[in-house]
Subunit: 133 residues, 2 copies
């Protein structure tokens, strides 16, 4: 388990497009850009499934997800890894739905994906590169 | 095999930071931001290993790589998938080294990774989402 620090949360809050990486069970990676990603609480990220295709197929059989974020101005970058649960109804999905409808009413969220963070790694070049937070 | 079209090349050439996704053999995805990524020819991308850690470990045992690119202004986004070969010497490494030394002389490239493109998918929302080029 790894907590999302204030510094990591700040980078996430400033990121516009998030690369969402998953893999098939036999190890073929998939990475697609998504915008509806935010901090859910200190240990979880919320990723909304508006248009997921291969990502959904992957996490249905292999629940690992990795996301990277970066702030070039402040030279900060992190990789956030964890395992996901998929919510098609209930409070997590409700929160996702409200968020999407506020921002882009025409979208129809299909599910909410909660990423329970297990590891956060420093990605910016320098002495801390590759270290776990 | 899939060729890099002019439109895909244009999006690549305008991208500053590239999310590079790999996976362990048992399917744990890894995605990190890299800047030294460019078109090598119509069928290959060049990714320079300046600071690779987990990415290198992954591709040494599981040669699949996926990269996503996007151009928000023109609403274009692609995922580029393929298999890599690692070059520690020879013409591919020489080209990578010259490129890095021109741009950032202080860096010491460790190897060059050539991504042979097998599939390109449309990632921007719309009718073509998920379709292969």
């Amino acid at each position: 388990m790894s907590k999302l620090t204030t510094e990591v949360k700040n980078v996430i809050s400033r990121q516009g497009v998030f690369p969402i990486a998953t893999a098939s069970r036999d190890g073929v990676p998939n990475v697609v850009p998504m915008t509806f990603v935010k901090v859910y609480d200190d240990e979880n990220l919320l990723v909304v499934d508006n248009f997921m295709h291969k990502t959904k197929q992957n996490i249905e059989s292999n629940p690992y997800m990795s996301i990277c974020v970066w702030d070039q101005e402040n030279k900060l970058s992190y990789q956030i890894k964890g395992k996901v649960t998929i919510h098609d109804l209930g409070p997590v999905f409700d929160q996702a739905r409200v968020w999407v409808k506020e921002k882009m009413p025409a979208l129809q969220p299909k599910s909410a994906v909660l990423l329970k963070v297990t590891n956060i790694y420093v990605c910016q070049p320098g002495e801390s590169l590759g270290q776990e937070l």
